[in-house]
Symmetry: C2
DNA sequence: AGTTAAGCGGACCGCTGGTCCGTATCGTAC
DNA sequence: GTACGATACGGACCAGCGGTCCGCTTAACT
């Protein structure tokens, strides 16, 4: 049983940090920065190896795996860091992302925020979803957005299947689809946002009130 | 330039087969059968290696790569074989899949056929989309369905973005999502079909006529 | 039966994610 | 400032993967 400590102390749940050594924290940041940069430079995340990241960060390979568990853990940690602001805005922020927003406005806002994030961090999102081994649906990151979206959808009358609808709407913003459209097909950013908004509106149906 | 012959003669485009040796054809079938079986047995397609397939088929590894180019080629060939009937039905078959069907009926029928196929061949679809290296959107198999769906959607009035809509609807039937819902979450088959149909109907909007 | 080339298979290669363990460094108690 | 235990470090190391090579086998045609 070689697992006395939690394997991925990426972000300690309790604010009481269990004492992190200074060099460890510094290395952690260096690794995240190096990984971000490398993923951004190379087109396909598959061409960036763990050894590359370690070298770019100026640390040994073992440091990567000690700090993040495995490749997926590193990518998840990086992704989580970048997405945190949006996540927080959706959880407790003001409209249009926050929970007080009426659903006909909030759902498109959430999806648009997600889409913009994936456009701005294409490489990262691609690396996250294209991890290969585990499906994106296993990550609790997905569960979070799904729950948020489903909850908002459930407040819309005459929408019989909020659970599936949330899945389907999220599927429309999947990283590889975004990459295909914005990258390969060259669809302009604003056009893509408009199309997603249009699609979303169609799914939600007409708002009850002026909204 | 070590490439005098086409690298992946999976299905010769011209019906004039360029003379295939008997044992080669036999081996090809054995490989496809073995691969299908192994993918079905193991849960995750990632755990099935090329060596496994070769051993199960009773051939050498080189035979796999000679016949199919690489891992992706093998999976694509297998997938194509299984999907061919549906594909043909969509291309030239009778309603509700064939091209003569009015779009308000055909689009749901196409998506439902795709969903049923992925439910019936979950392992295979998962292996195809989860190839890892290349995104599913690069495969011309995807381009085919997208074009078919977009064409049908374009015939619906007041649907401003048939291209994106086709992508988004197809995204709702992605193999890993289907696997997540039908497998992990245990959503019953008929319920999933009904949900997809409901969602599709919402996207298409009301039919102009009794349809 | 003889000839030829297509087909065969398994040893082999390069590379990857992931691990091990002796060593260097940090944090602390004095 | 120094001594000391705990913690983290790093690069050699490992197992397993997709993919290739080449000497041998065998189908096909005469």
């Amino acid at each position: 049983m070689p697992d006395p400590t939690p394997p991925t102390p990426s972000t300690p749940p309790t604010p009481s940090a269990p004492k992190a050594r200074a060099d460890a924290a510094r290395n952690r940041e260096a690794v995240l920065a190096a990984a971000d940069r490398l993923f951004a430079e190379h087109g396909s995340p598959g061409t960036v190896t763990m050894a590359d990241i370690a070298a770019a960060a100026g640390v040994g390979k073992a440091t990567l795996f000690r700090g993040f568990g495995d490749r997926t853990g590193l990518i998840r940690a990086l992704h989580e860091t970048r997405l945190a602001p949006i996540r927080q805005a959706a959880e407790e922020g003001p409209p249009p992302l926050g929970p007080t927003t009426p659903p006909h406005e909030r759902v498109p806002a959430l999806l648009d925020a997600l889409l913009r994030f994936k456009l701005d961090n294409r490489h990262l999102s691609l690396a996250l979803e294209g991890t290969g081994n585990g499906s994106p649906y296993a990550a609790d990151h997905y569960a979070h957005w799904h729950t948020t979206l489903r909850t908002a959808l459930a407040r819309i009358p005459d929408l019989p299947t909020p659970d599936f609808t949330a899945h389907a709407l999220l599927a429309a913003t999947r990283a590889d689809l975004v990459e295909h459209l914005a990258g390969t097909e060259g669809v302009p950013r604003e056009q893509l946002r408009a199309q997603l908004a249009e699609f979303t509106a169609r799914v939600l149906g007409p708002a009850v009130r002026g909204d």
